[in-house]
Subunit: 411 residues, 2 copies
């Protein structure tokens, strides 16, 4: 993989130019993308600047995020050739930092659950996950050092786990979703993919203009880490359990205080309410597409929106109350510990291109709005990761604990 921190170190040392760094991505795309199929369109002649802390960093932008110089096609034939007027604020921010938007990356239609043509960079017979399929696969394949995704259920953390890269779904609205196609306004969250935890930490600190997020992996004293198995979701596959065990042992080796923790029943209730909130909002957010292009909606999204027409406001309001209660309780719980360690995904990427896998270990945390980091866990076979979670606003803490575990896993 291309490490953002490593590329920037070489550029600052004068051993690599920004142009040279962009060329590494261009060459990797030429070599890998014919099989991985992570990009929708690439900029054939990108304008590379020498200025800015992300100069020389090629970025992939999920194709539900508006770009003024490239079409934004939402993974859907309904938006074929659609050219937005403006760059989304997150794209403007990347450019202001010197980064190059080199590619739009594939997305499930409207960031829903239907698969794209993208293949897993570790085995083309397996899904890369979704909905941020192209961004996860492009980073996992070593084509790009940084890519933007979005998560409404598990669309950042799950594909990162499947593709073997690090990722962060930051605190809700830390990054602006303006100019990003809405699926569910209470859930949609921009996230970042990178080679390692240090790479996404460095990128997030710069993009969010909050230097404290980037601790360079320094462990925060003796962090108290709770291992959570989310028993309200179906049990995971053995490889996910094994990865969680290894991550737990790594955390202990690195000096963390690790305990098991069973989430109170309020969290099962919130977990169950995720779909109602998501689908009630998606019905509104995609009302135009549904009314005018129902037949062009993808095979799972169409019926999902059909069913959503029957949801009523009372069910939605009840679901929101359950989410609110769990959020308040989680805030209290986080006064007793620093981070939660749990599954990123139910197991390896499924051996199919007809599904993007299951988001059941991610949904609750998206609904809670808390920062979640995927840490790849080295092992045999396909990649699998674990998820480190901190309190709302504790993005730096989540990243620091994640970096601590990542470091101990490598040893």
């Amino acid at each position: 993989m291309l490490s953002l921190v490593d590329l920037r170190r070489r550029i600052e040392a004068g051993t690599l130019t920004p142009e040279g760094a962009i060329r590494l991505s261009q060459e990797a795309i030429l070599a890998r993308d014919p099989v991985v199929r992570a990009t929708v369109v690439t900029d054939p002649a990108p304008a590379v600047t020498d200025a800015g802390p992300l100069a020389g960093i090629a970025v992939g932008v999920k194709d539900i995020i508006d770009t003024a110089a490239m079409p934004t096609q939402m993974g859907s034939p309904i938006y074929e050739g659609w050219q937005p007027k403006t760059d989304a604020p997150i794209v403007m921010r990347l450019k202001a930092l010197g980064a190059v938007v080199l590619a739009k990356t594939t997305t499930s239609p409207f960031a829903s659950v239907d698969p794209t043509e993208t293949t897993n960079p570790h085995d083309p017979g397996h899904t890369p996950g979704g909905s941020s399929a192209g961004s996860a696969a492009a980073v996992g394949a070593g084509m790009l050092p940084l890519a933007l995704g979005t998560q409404t259920g598990g669309s950042v953390i799950r594909p990162a786990s499947f593709c073997g890269c690090a990722a962060i779904k930051p605190s809700f609205r830390l990054l602006p979703t303006v100019g990003v196609k809405t699926f569910s306004w209470a859930l949609d969250t921009l996230g970042l993919f990178g080679a390692g935890v240090g790479d996404v930490a460095h990128a997030l600190a710069l993009i969010a203009a909050r230097p404290a997020i980037d601790l360079g992996g320094t462990p925060p004293g003796t962090p108290r880490v709770m291992v959570v198995t989310q028993d309200f979701a179906e049990a995971p596959a053995p490889e996910a359990k094994s990865a969680l065990d290894r991550a737990r042992q790594a955390a202990e080796r690195a000096g963390a205080l690790v305990r098991d923790f069973a989430l109170p029943p309020e969290f099962a209730a919130a977990f169950e309410s995720h779909g109602t909130i998501q689908d009630f909002e998606a019905r509104q957010a995609l009302a135009w597409e549904y009314a005018h292009h129902r037949d062009a909606l993808s095979p799972r999204l169409g019926p999902q929106l059909d069913a959503a027409q029957g949801l009523d406001a009372a069910a939605y309001d009840d679901a929101r109350r359950k989410a609110h209660r769990a959020r308040r309780l989680l805030k209290t719980l986080f006064s007793d510990f620093d981070a939660i360690l749990t599954y990123s995904a139910p197991g390896f990427a499924p051996r199919t291109l007809a599904s993007t896998g299951d988001a059941r270990f991610n949904r609750l945390w998206t609904l809670m709005g808390v920062p979640c980091v995927n840490v790849p866990v080295p092992g045999d076979g396909l990649p699998v990761g674990v998820q480190v979670i901190a309190r709302f606003g504790g993005d730096g803490r989540a990243l620091a604990v994640a970096a601590m575990i990542e470091g101990a896993l490598e040893r």
Copy 2:
């Protein structure tokens, strides 16, 4: 003014057709709009349906809200002729209810503070307020029975007060802001203008699919109403004080328990933090416009965004914490009373077209996310209104108390 409830009553009684009702708006636009200048574009041949609870209702849509059949020009030359691909969800919802989008209405550029060419329907030498200038003026002039606005500071309640119509800024995100140009995502709120409180209550109940919002003006037992003067803002003009006194007496006559209430200091702190939150987000939301079209920004917005470039994330995070504290405190306070009664605006619409007036009595409540209703207070001279506020989610309660005051004022 054209009352939505009255038009619907006549349509249901068979004494008016939906076509006839739309024609009333078309004729009123022809008669009044040459002076009021509230519309940007009108649909010359609207498709009128007989079906739906808002059939026959002509709606004005603020020109920062996406429409697929009419341009959306944001009140700015930067978006001259810009044609969005889709209708915003709120527009889709109005159409699904049978309403006709008859006009796009004028807006301050990007819903900021610079004035439009719209004049006050009660005196063309006075501002109609802003930023939802056209929507407030069109309803106040009797051109339309319903119009959509947005409020980030005081862009719904203030122009309603200036133009003599009722309006509601509902609870934050009760109505979806998808497809609405963002200024500040933590503040931007869709609102409705109508002839009277019963009209906006009926419309909101239908649009939000929450029938309980529309109580038909039934007073909720003996409501406890607190009169709040917002002393952290500069004092209002005599006519605003007089209107508040008359509304207070009307509430008492109608059987409410009315007391004075001084807001604790946390609210002054939140009031002061509004601008930081708004401008830090506006800088991001309008990053593309600022970077590529700084010279085409309007006279106040340009310098506002210049200054916003200097805001840092720490100031923003601190402002959000202050807002959060005040929101939690307000929730507690609302367990002791039902509604707050306060100023809608500092006084009559200023005698100028070079300013949209002052939002200082509105900003705090937008930041709190609570429902706010403007009740016109009959009197001599230009219109002036008062503001009725309830707890978050208490849109029906705010409307019921507002209707109670409105009814007693008329007697």
